[in-house]
């Protein structure tokens, strides 16, 4: 068969792979079809890899096998052992790998062409340069995000003076080096550009605070897609371009959803520094009182309720209270009480994180509801039980124009007949803001560790 005809077949098979990816993502529209969808994606990837083995440019396969098997040996056990609370770190680490791979491919493609001695077009060099620096930014940015999530680095935003000017200068220098590289075809320029891009990636993520992490993880998800698309341009491969575009838009949409849920603009997240301003909450003189209840009282109210809505936050996962929570749900359901979960989009440390943590502890997904779907139901609920969440239920976001949270969409837990908030102490939330809900008449705090309180509730409810 002629090489020409062969390449046509490759293109067709790659097209099938991209279609499989689209179906794979479409499957995620419901938990029922999601597993099938994932199988489509895996089939697409397998098809792409097998096809590439027969590519005319692949002249030796020893290195490929070594890389594939090595990657499987590392990736599979990693994925099997990772704790669900540590998913954001895993995702950040994996993003960095895609970025570094893109840098290696850009460099390898360049040296390959140079080695052949045949002419390399200006357009090609531009594409290699762009693929290289997007990859490098993704790599170092993801490493910093990983460090922050894993708490190797402090999660507080690191801001210094003239930061934005430094970043801008670095970006200009990077683009200048890229231009030099394409004109002079100088490997030196390529590597200098990569070094500058690495610095830029670090500086872009360092100023972003812990509370904004869900946005950063989504943003880097998006970058890893753009890096793949740029590599696709370098290699003139539509499969890489299509897939990169799919992943890139996915990350971009998730970033948008997260920003909206926090009432933050994407620009202010990127510029960073959230959480640095000390919220000077002026005490207005009037002594505000909070109510607190012993576990038994809360248990009594829960038991006599007909509808309970639970609002979980990341604090629940930190306290390892999911299993006790499941027991509580089970006990209440057995008594004929309707129990639902209300999830704020930013509950947890990455998009959809809380849903996974609840699913992990065997809480059925059909009693877990998103904010828009359940907010209207709070007024009909007898008890709202808040566990490890704070800012996402603060009514100040609706009423107090001076609050830093003002404008953020919240779960309307305050509308329930009675609200119980399980809390370790009277500490302010992630954003460092006092919670007005605690002073509401229908709100009562249950002090203690989330897991211990849930266990106590289960015990009191089952005894009675």
């Amino acid at each position: 068969m002629s090489t020409e005809a062969k390449l046509e077949i490759f293109a067709a098979l790659y097209l099938v792979a991209s279609i499989l990816f689209v179906f794979g993502l479409k499957g995620l529209s419901s938990p029922k079809t999601a597993i099938r969808g994932n199988q489509f994606s895996m089939a697409g990837m397998a098809l792409a890899i097998v096809t590439t083995f027969f590519h005319p440019d692949v002249k030796t396969s020893a290195w490929i096998w070594a890389g594939l098997l090595g990657g499987a040996a590392v990736g599979v056990p990693l994925a099997q052992r990772i704790q669900m609370t540590a998913m954001p770190q895993l995702v950040a680490a994996l993003h960095s790998f895609v970025g570094l791979a893109a840098v290696c491919i850009a460099a390898g493609t360049f040296y390959g062409y140079i080695g052949e001695g045949d002419g390399i077009s200006r357009g090609m060099l531009v594409e290699i340069g762009i693929g290289g620096f997007i990859g490098a930014i993704t790599y170092s940015g993801s490493l910093i995000a990983f460090g922050k999530l894993q708490e190797i680095l402090g999660s507080s935003p690191l801001v210094f003076r003239f930061q934005h000017w430094v970043n801008l200068t670095l970006a200009v220098v990077m683009l200048g080096l890229c231009a030099w590289f394409t004109v002079a075809v100088d490997p030196m320029a390529f590597w200098l550009m990569i070094v500058v891009a690495l610095f830029l990636g670090v500086l872009l993520v360092l100023p972003i605070g812990g509370a904004d992490m869900p946005v950063v993880v989504s943003m880097l998800n998006s970058y890893s897609g753009w890096a793949a698309a740029a590599t696709g341009f370098t290699l003139n491969n539509p499969l890489l371009i299509t897939t990169g575009a799919l992943v890139g838009s996915s990350g971009a949409i998730l970033s948008y959803i997260m920003c909206k849920a926090m009432n933050r603009s994407i620009v202010s997240v990127i510029l960073g520094g959230f959480g640095t301003e000390v919220s000077a909450k002026v005490t207005d003189g009037t002594q505000k009182t909070i109510r607190s209840s012993p576990i038994e009282d809360a248990a009594f109210m829960l038991e006599n309720a007909s509808k309970v809505i639970i609002v979980p936050g990341y604090g629940m996962a930190v306290a390892q209270a999911q299993h006790s929570m499941k027991e509580l749900v089970h006990t209440l359901t057995q008594k004929g009480i309707e129990v639902k979960f209300a999830i704020h989009p930013v509950a947890g440390r990455m998009p959809g994180h809380m849903n996974v943590l609840l699913a992990e502890s065997d809480i059925p997904y059909d009693i877990v509801h998103e904010m828009e779907d359940i907010n209207s139901e709070f007024s009909g609920a007898d008890v709202a039980l808040v566990v490890g969440a704070n800012d996402v239920i603060n009514p100040a976001a609706k009423t107090d124009k001076s609050s830093p949270l003002y404008g953020m969409p919240i779960l309307d837990a305050y509308k329930a007949k009675q609200v119980f908030v399980i809390k370790r102490s009277m500490k302010a939330g992630y954003a460092g803001v006092d919670n007005d809900l605690f002073y509401y008449e229908n709100c009562s705090l249950v002090f203690g560790d989330a897991k211990a309180v849930c266990d106590g509730l289960v015990k009191s409810v089952s005894v009675q």
Binding site: L25, N38, A48, G70, V91, I105, G115, G123, N221
Partner: protein, 113 residues
């Protein structure tokens, strides 16, 4: 049409497809969405394999050829960690999502069998 323009056409249209498909994903599955997009962004393995499978046609350039292979090997390895890690963890997460138990699950199964 130049190959670059062709690429841009494909890219822009794919972004639209992505936009529509991703808005259809239920928010409850956003974490597995990130895990699986992570895995499929490792499609760069196609490029990595081409670089790793490179062999020079001129004999005097053996060292450079090995350098290219080494870069390719690193890229294949990194992408492969992503592919295996990403898909396995996605499967693991999706398997956790279970609907409410039926009152009599055993009879249900017998009925459908």
């Amino acid at each position: 049409m130049s190959t670059t323009m062709f690429g841009i056409t494909v890219f822009v249209l794919a972004c639209f497809v992505g936009y529509h498909v991703i808005w259809g994903v239920t928010p409850a599955l956003h974490t597995p969405l990130m895990a699986v997009t992570n895995a499929i962004s490792a499609i760069v393995i196609v490029g990595a394999m081409i670089v790793a499978g490179y062999k020079t046609t001129s004999i005097d350039n053996d060292l450079a050829s090995h350098l290219v292979n080494l870069l390719g090997f690193s890229a294949v390895f990194l992408a492969s960690v992503n592919i295996f890690g990403g898909f396995v963890v996605t499967n693991r997460i999706l398997a956790m999502f279970k609907p409410k138990e039926k009152t009599q699950p055993t009879t249900d199964q017998e009925g459908s069998a």
